[in-house]
Amino acid sequence: MTTDIRLYTAGDAAPVPAWKRRTRWQRLQQAVAPLLRRPGFSLALLVVLFALLAALAPHWLSSFAPYATSPADKLSAPSAVHWFGTDELGRDLYTRVVYGARLSVQAALLAVAIALLGGLGIGVLAGFAGGRLDAALMRLVDVLLALPGLLLALAIVTAIGFGTVPVAIAVGVGIIPGFARTTRAEVLRIKTLPYVEAARLGGASWLRTLLRHVLPNAWGPVAVLATLDFGAAILATAGLSFLGFGAAPPAAEWGTLIASGRHFLITAPWVSLLPGLFVVAVVFSLNHLARSAEEHAR
């Protein structure tokens, strides 16, 4: 209330209509509302939120214990009790998928975070500094690009050990070059835009310009790439799990579930197919979100 009064009294002669700064939340709502009206976007968002919820609080989504074996129920087909059926030790697959989300999502998030940090760092530095530093950093990125991703990941995983974190690091390092290149291109593009020049002329330091103008505006394509790579990281992690570099059993990330279920493709296809379809759904949803956001921004 007080602000309103102040506002009215402030505009001395002509009464100025009430004006309050909109919060960021309000602006976000306005930006997202038209997207939410698209059924495809909402559905994709639901799938991704489900995966995130599963990662945060899997016990809300399933009443079964993920690791309790039940030899009598082994390899039972999907039913009302076991939505995704059971695996070779009689564990409820749906529950394992839900609990697997924690590891997979964590690994993917960590991988993307590593790639983001590294990529943004290299990209911003190269784009901003230019000259020799730029050339040196870009050659480093070229080198990383030239190394086949999975082999690099394999080498890193064997160097630092099995498990979720090493896999995430390995995958993350593999996707650094993409981030670095995108960030650099964006920084180079935005650096020359009139509003950055205007900010500089307005007395903003390079750091302030970087933090307030360049990074937030470069963020769009980078965020889209991050969303895409989040999906790619899930797939890459799954690929490594397939080769036998996964989380410590009995915990199982999605890749491990698909990979270990593949032995039953002929006799009990759901053991591999349903986790597989779930992963496809999540990654596809992520891709869809990224694309929708990108198209919306354009």
């Binding site: 087909a77 030790l89 099995f162 009995p250 593949r262 002929i266």
Partner: protein
């Protein structure tokens, strides 16, 4: 889901049709297709002396032959390339009288010189690379004496009760002298010439091998009913690491024998049987699939009570029936049943979770809020090192132990890390196995003086037990009479179970599924097959 089912139903139907189609090229040319699991990628070699990979030994059994053979039923050593033999009274000299009608596939004559060449070059290789697998078979061997062209005397420096059995193995198979003129590496890549019913045409690592029959073959051992040349023209061996692909090939009729390392799961078994396949099974001689504890350095398993509780907490019946199938034998001792001097310990290995819990309570381990047992603020966590990946059975055991409050950590490692872990004693449980139809093979695992990993062998026993075990091993190897050996190895098996120095998990049954058109599949004593007996025809 229904659509999925339909898709795969169509697939299965097509498979069935394919499997039944009689007009197959293979039938006409009498080629047998064998699908093994993946090739050994760590040691790429088909040199008999170096090979420990079971699949390669199957191949070698049919290419290279040995002085003796072993009866798969009784375990007795019977003549093969040697018609007869005498063992010196000191058990240090073995005189073999050789067959005189045997030639190598390159035309060279098989005689005492060839045997001497084989044993001497094997010994030379073992000296150069003491780590090589065949070295254990050759233990104690000193030199060979050519008595006459067809009589050779092998002289040992110290007694080795298993030596006669060793002469029946693929590892001491006799290659042509020409083969020993080549380097070990060339032999490893498939340049081997033997006296067997088949000739190794080529070996391509990780892809496969091809054997072709030798028309003039006529010196089979008594184990083989077909005394002449093989019925088959050729054998195509392929290494297919992907289980579903391998099974698919078999179901499609592209493989006649499906022969993976691990036993079939129940669903696969039923599927194959429903398609008319026969499941061939044989327990592999040698130790069962045992876990070996680390009792030293104040590790938790240093407490015998805890070890005994662990022994009781493993539900071996459930293991065999869940991971494999209802007919699968439940492991009943530290050796597999096909090992000579096997002694069953089924009652001591019974599942008794209550007993396990009582033992653990008595040892001071009490259940905490997390469902696991604790003592002095420490959780009862056991670290199980395994490589290259965990099996469903490992996970099942993990869950079984969880029920009595033991936290089993499945520590999946690369082979390198696993080896390093064994050597440094950085584990609570670890597992390894060897295959040989003589109880002596356990020494390569559990006797620190002869084991591949002395650390692993030492760590398996509490300090006071080790001398007792070594004494039993010694009496087993020096005894020349059967009853003495039986007594020594019987006591050894009792001791290992009583002291819980080994935790058997399952009987190492080797299973192969043979297509309906495959007849007369027969196991050797060590769990390989004589392919010359096999006939292929209309199902």
């Amino acid at each position: 889901m229904p659509s999925l089912h339909r898709l795969f139903a169509i697939g299965a139907l097509a498979l069935a049709l394919n499997a039944c189609s009689p007009a197959d090229n293979n039938a006409a040319s009498k080629t047998l297709n064998i699908a093994f699991w993946g090739d050994n990628t760590t040691l790429v070699s088909v040199d008999p002396f170096q090979v420990y990979w079971l699949e390669h030994r199957v191949l070698l059994r049919n290419v290279a032959e040995s002085l003796t053979d072993q009866d798969p039923q009784t375990g007795r050593i019977i003549p093969w390339l040697a018609k007869s033999w005498e063992v010196g009274s000191d058990a240090l000299s073995y005189t073999f009288h050789l067959r005189q009608d045997v030639t190598f596939s390159n035309g060279e004559r098989f005689d005492a010189h060839a045997v001497k060449a084989a044993f001497d070059s094997n010994k030379a290789f073992a000296t150069q690379l003491p780590a090589t697998f065949g070295a254990t078979y050759l233990a104690g061997y000193d030199h060979a004496e050519v008595v006459d062209d067809f009589t050779v005397r092998l002289v040992l420096a110290r007694p080795n009760a298993g030596f006669l059995q060793a002469t029946s193995t693929t590892n001491l198979a006799i290659l042509a002298p020409a083969s020993y003129k080549l380097s070990a590496q060339e032999r490893s890549q498939g340049k081997i010439i033997g006296t067997g019913p088949f000739v190794l045409e080529h070996y391509t690592p990780e892809v496969g091998a091809r054997l072709v029959k030798r028309a003039d073959y006529a010196w089979a051992s008594a184990n083989v009913s077909n005394k002449g040349a093989a019925h088959l023209d050729a054998v195509e061996i392929s290494y297919i690491p992907e289980e579903s692909v391998r099974n698919g090939l078999f179901l499609q009729g592209k493989a006649d024998i499906l022969w993976p390392r691990n036993p079939f799961s129940e669903v696969d078994l039923k599927l194959f049987q429903s398609k008319g396949a026969t499941i061939q099974s044989r327990s592999l001689p040698g130790p069962a699939l045992n876990l070996y504890p680390n009792t030293r350095n104040n590790r938790l398993l240093g407490d015998r009570q805890v070890r005994l509780a662990l022994q009781k907490a493993i539900d071996r019946t459930s293991y065999a029936h869940t991971v494999y199938n209802a007919e699968f034998p439940v492991v009943s001792g530290v050796y597999d049943v096909t090992t000579p001097y096997f002694k069953a310990q089924a009652d001591k290995l019974a599942y008794d979770p209550k007993g396990a819990e009582q033992l653990l309570e008595a040892a001071g381990w009490h259940k905490g809020a997390d469902g696991y047992r604790h003592k002095d603020g420490q959780r009862l966590t056991l670290r199980y090192n395994l490589t290259p990946a965990e099996s469903a059975g490992d996970v099942l055991v993990q869950d079984q132990l969880r029920k009595v409050g033991i936290d089993l950590k499945l520590n999946v490692l690369t082979r390198a890390e696993w080896v390093a872990g064994n050597a440094s004693g950085n584990y609570d449980l670890t597992s390894t196995y060897m295959t040989r139809a003589d109880p002596i093979i356990l020494q390569t695992i559990l006797d620190p003086r002869a084991a591949n990993s002395a650390t692993l062998a030492t760590n398996s026993y509490e300090p006071q037990t080790l001398p007792k075990v070594q004494a039993l091993f010694d009496s087993g190897i020096t005894a020349t009479a059967d009853p003495q050996r039986a007594a020594a190895y019987g006591q050894l098996q009792d001791l290992l179970v009583d002291e819980a120095a080994a935790f058997p998990l399952y009987e190492r049954v080797w299973q192969a599924a043979t297509a309906p058109r495959v007849k007369d599949f027969r196991w050797t004593a060590e769990g390989f097959a004589f392919l010359s007996d096999i006939q292929v025809g209309q199902p």
